[in-house]
């Protein structure tokens, strides 16, 4: 009698793979539109034409009534004018500390942001000057000289004080770029920072109340409390996260989330931090996986040899 098993195996595997392909790759390609990555080139933003002078930039950034009216630069000894909760009450969201802005955000983006915040952030649809809806960050109108040169100087200053790209950790990138709107509960991260360990419940609750107050202001500003990102690495795929960070409007038109303007390197680090929170055991999974596969293959070989031995007498 002819051995039909290879043919049966081919039929079973073919139908299984066909079904898998239909319900997984094919169905998902139909359900979600594909957004091509632009590699964080921000091609819609004008290129920097001037080379900046950091010393001059420092004067512009830290001058009276300039950036530090709202932003802190802890690295250069400029403290925040008000605490985060009060700031959120005033602006909707706590303005970022600028110490590392120069390494996290793209230079073109920073330049455009200084001149026209709503444009760079891709949130012009949320603000209508005619109705008195102004973006909380005031556009820089120039300090009297060539505005493009001044902006280039400011960007150069921010770049000069920031840590080097290789010193920017995934945690820093996430906390600075995302962490004033998003919590990451599994990493103990709140919009006010990492929640300290308190000895007394009263202190812990007092901290929580401050977070809630911040979130109240944030919710009012954004229309909805931005989601906790603890598990986003598992609930969204890497490509989605990357293209969403690059331009939220491309995946979710009309969303209140701004384009944050991170560099490709910073985006990569943000996603790595999300993996560190949502898929903590991925390295262990790989190494355990390899060992289990080796074990099972050896088991299968022994099972095969046992079958051959037992069946020798049966034929």
């Amino acid at each position: 009698m002819k051995n039909k098993e290879p043919l049966i195996l081919v039929v079973v595997v073919a139908f299984t793979l066909l079904t898998y392909w239909l319900v997984e790759p094919f169905a998902h390609s139909q359900m979600h539109k594909h957004v091509e990555s632009q590699n964080f080139a921000y091609a819609d933003l004008p290129a920097l034409t001037k080379s900046g002078d950091a010393a001059n930039g420092k004067a512009l950034v830290t001058g009276a009534a300039a950036c530090i009216g709202c932003h802190s630069i802890t690295k250069d000894g400029v403290p925040a004018g008000m605490d985060a909760v009060t700031a959120a009450g005033s602006y909707g969201v706590n303005p970022p500390d600028l110490s590392n802005a120069g390494v996290i955000y793209d230079a073109k983006f920073l330049a455009d942001l200084i001149k026209n915040p709503a444009h760079a952030l891709n949130v012009a649809h949320k603000f209508d000057a005619a109705k008195g809806q102004m973006h909380p960050m005031i556009a820089f109108a120039g300090a009297g000289g060539d505005i493009d040169q001044e902006v280039a100087d400011m960007v150069a200053y921010l770049q000069s004080i920031a840590v080097k790209a290789d010193q920017l950790t995934p945690k820093m990138a996430f906390e600075e770029a995302c962490g004033r709107c998003h919590t990451m509960k599994y990493e103990n991260w709140t919009q006010l920072g990492t929640k300290p360990e308190y000895k007394f419940e009263k202190e812990s609750l007092a901290y929580d109340i401050k977070v809630l107050e911040y979130q109240e202001a944030l919710t009012k500003y954004m229309g909805k409390l931005p989601p906790d990102l603890s598990m986003y690495f598992r609930s969204r795929n890497e490509h989605f996260l990357s293209t969403f960070i690059e331009n939220p409007q491309s995946q979710l038109a009309g969303t209140a989330m701004p384009r944050v303007g991170v560099t490709a390197d910073a985006a990569h680090k943000v996603i790595e931090h999300m993996a560190d929170a949502g898929d903590t055991k991925r390295h262990e999974r790989e190494s355990v996986g390899k060992n289990v596969m080796i074990f099972i293959i050896i088991f299968a070989i022994f099972a095969l040899l046992w079958k051959k031995q037992v069946w020798r007498d049966l034929h």
């Binding site: 098993e5 139908f15 319900v23 598990m231 999974r285 596969m293 022994f302 037992v310 049966l314």
Partner: protein, 404 residues
């Protein structure tokens, strides 16, 4: 009372009280299996192993899972996935096994249909098998509620809502099932109970029945051959192992079972570690939010074909078609009027029916996941109608089948 003598060994002691030798013969060494079978006959053992994996991984998960709407998601995604050593491994094994077990069930089912293994005294094997399919489905659904993610919540909402649809309008029943107007704490706790106690008990009982149903009619073989098990087993016991048409369950058949299990486990653990996305849906890694309906709600892949039979019709007709799809497989031994218990390849029109049914169910499965728009809803409608027509046609095409 039976006569007991002083035991000569532990084995003898047990033998006098439990008849272990007799049990061993009945269950293993003199449980005769035909030799002309292929690897598809090992699917029962593959299912038993997969069920064991589900049971063991489930026990470990149960030690940390919290059936509370406030804590469930956290207990799964924080406690189990990152806090507990190897908690992620148990969850991946559990999730992947829950999906793969249905792949094997479908292979096992279609093997039964292809070789006519529900006929001539094997009806109870088929019935108990279909009851297992139903309880496994309920087990899978109830388990899917437990992580309390977006898909848990919304699948729970949509599926329990079925009873309130159209002419059924059983809103009271829906509330009774949920224990609330919407899926909430009462809903989660009762599905937790079903998942970890009532349904596993039912499954284990049914597995016992499924095995018992197999004992008298014996396993079918791939040639549809009628084997005289008494004569063939005598031949085997007399020493003509090669000449006999039958073999022992253990170790003869068991060794082949384990070979298939070994190959299966390579595939299984590959999925557990490297390709688990199909079984652990990304959407369910978002916590349940009753105010945010996901853009696409779909059941797990193994329910898609029956979901697609519900979907393309108007509400009342859809419900009837859905009900039809749920019970029709159970009636297969009586809808197939042919006297032949042989492989489909030798049964003419039935062979065409078999392959059409298989392809139709794959088409339904694909359409059940795709958004019901444009060409996909048309294909879905045609496939759903084809499913119903195929089953209605079955008695007619088998009635006139010639005896082979």
């Amino acid at each position: 009372m039976a006569h007991f003598t002083k035991a000569t060994s532990v084995k003898d002691w047990l033998n006098q009280r439990l008849a272990i030798e007799k049990v061993e013969k009945v269950m293993a060494s003199e449980y005769w299996i035909p030799k002309n079978i292929n690897f598809l006959w090992a699917m029962g053992m593959v299912l038993a192993i997969t069920f064991a994996l589900l049971l063991v991984s489930g026990i470990f998960l149960l030690m940390y899972y919290q059936p509370d709407v406030k804590d469930a998601f956290y207990s799964v995604n924080y406690t189990i996935m990152r806090d507990v050593d190897f908690g992620w491994l148990w969850r991946h094994v559990h999730g992947v096994a829950a999906s793969v077990v249905f792949l094997i069930i479908y292979i096992h089912m279609f093997t039964g249909i292809y070789y006519g293994s529900y006929k001539k005294g094997r009806e109870m094997i088929w019935i108990s098998g279909m009851l297992l399919f139903v309880t496994f489905s309920a087990e899978a659904f109830s388990g899917y509620m437990l992580p309390w993610g977006q898909m848990s919540y919304w699948a729970g909402m949509v599926i329990t809502n079925i009873f309130s649809l159209g002419g059924l309008h059983m809103d009271g029943l829906v509330e009774w099932i949920r224990g609330d107007y919407v899926p909430a704490q009462a809903f989660l706790t009762r599905f937790f109970m079903l998942h970890v106690l009532l349904l596993p008990l039912a499954i284990m009982g049914l597995i016992g029945l499924h095995f018992a149903a197999l004992r008298l009619p014996h396993v079918n073989n791939q040639d549809g051959e009628e084997i005289d098990f008494d004569a063939e087993s005598k031949k085997y016991l007399a020493g003509d192992k090669a000449g006999s048409k039958v073999m022992r369950f253990a170790n003869d058949f068991m060794s082949k079972d384990m070979m298939v299990v070994g190959i299966y486990l390579i595939f299984f653990f590959y999925l557990v570690f490297f390709q688990y996305g199909f079984a652990l849906d990304p959407v369910n890694f978002d916590p349940a939010d009753g105010l945010k309906t996901p853009a696409h709600i779909y059941p797990e892949w193994y329910f898609l074909w029956s979901y697609e039979i519900l979907r393309p019709f108007s509400v009342n007709i859809g419900l009837m078609a859905f009900g039809f799809a749920q019970v029709i497989f159970m009636l297969l031994p009586w809808l197939d009027r042919s006297p032949n218990a042989v492989p489909a390849s030798r049964r003419g029109a039935f062979s065409i029916w078999f392959w059409l049914l298989l392809i139709d169910m794959i088409v339904l499965t694909a359409m059940g996941k795709l958004p019901p728009e444009g060409i996909f809803s048309t294909i879905g409608l045609v496939a759903a109608l084809a499913f119903i027509v195929l089953w209605i046609a079955l008695p007619f095409i088998t009635m006139n089948e010639k005896k082979v």
